[in-house]
């Protein structure tokens, strides 16, 4: 089967990719000393005791970057088959791809002008 020829080894690769890094960790777990005490187990905060619940301030910028990345990611996966079939495309098909890119550039320009891409 064609899939098995190509993707079977990838499955084996995944097994190896998980086992190989796990091996040094297991070796270290066997050989390393283990002397836990209270101070070592505390969360690191530059040597000061932690106060209160651990929470992070909501910063909307992270979310905007992730959304813009998502939009561009989907754009790229649409453009990949277009790029592969490029040699056999007529001008119309080629223009369709252009229109696609243009619309998304439009979105980028909007984000730029609305200062959504600034890091505050």
């Amino acid at each position: 089967m064609n899939i098995l020829n190509q993707w079977g080894p990838i499955g084996l690769f995944m097994v190896f990719a998980i086992v190989l890094p796990a091996a040094p960790i297991l070796v270290a777990a066997i050989f390393a000393p283990r002397k836990p005490n209270d101070i070592k187990l505390q969360t690191y905060e530059c040597g000061v005791e932690t106060v209160g619940d651990t929470w992070v301030q909501f910063k909307v910028q992270y979310y905007i970057y992730a959304i813009v990345f998502l939009v561009f990611d989907v754009e790229m996966i649409f453009l990949l088959p277009w790029a592969i079939a490029f040699n056999e495309l007529s001008f119309f098909a080629f223009g369709a791809g252009f229109l696609f890119i243009f619309l998304l550039t439009d979105a980028l320009v909007y984000a730029w002008r609305k200062q959504a891409l600034e890091w505050h």
Binding site: N2, L4, L80, P81, A85, L89, L104, A107
Partner: protein
């Protein structure tokens, strides 16, 4: 064939168990990580259906972008040790309706194709589309060029919407 059945079982298990744990897990970040596991299972199922392009896209977009977006949203909007106890007086009614719906959907999918008695087989097709075929189909005039362009409009709308909602004014 045995290997394919085994792979099918493993990937389906990933997908189903992952999806179940998304709903059952008490910790929201754990739910997000179980979602990643479920999406991995779906990617594996795509590979078994001879659609490696879709499998790679599944990993790239769903796990690499959408799951990260979800994890951002989860981590940024609550404290890290929040555990929520579900309290819902009608949970038994919801369970009954859910079970009935599930049985109806599964029966509606399986019975028309395989009938009552036969053993389901993995779909095999001789015509395997390559990425080049997808590319040509996406932009050819008698293909999917209109959904292609509408998709770009949809993406633009999504981005504009997100920016409008997230802006401080």
């Amino acid at each position: 064939m045995v290997v394919q059945y085994l792979a099918f079982v493993i990937f389906s298990a990933f997908a189903i168990i992952g999806a179940a744990m998304v709903v059952w897990s008490r910790n929201l970040v754990h739910s997000a990580l179980f979602l990643v596991m479920s999406l991995f299972g779906v990617a594996g199922l795509f590979i078994l259906l001879s659609a490696p392009f879709l499998a790679a896209i599944q990993v790239l977009v769903y796990i690499g972008a959408i799951a990260i977006l979800i994890i951002f949203a989860v981590m940024l909007t609550r404290s890290m040790t929040a555990i929520r106890e579900p309290f819902n007086a009608q949970s038994w009614l919801g369970a009954v309706i859910g079970a009935v719906l599930f049985v109806a959907l599964v029966a509606g999918m399986i019975l028309p194709v395989w009938g009552w008695g036969s053993l389901p087989t993995l779909p095999q097709s001789d015509v395997v589309g390559t990425t080049r075929d997808i590319g040509i189909a996406l932009v050819s005039a008698d293909g999917y060029v209109l959904p292609f362009e509408v998709a770009s409009l949809l993406l633009t709308a999504a981005m504009v919407g997100a920016i409008v909602i997230a802006r401080e004014d």
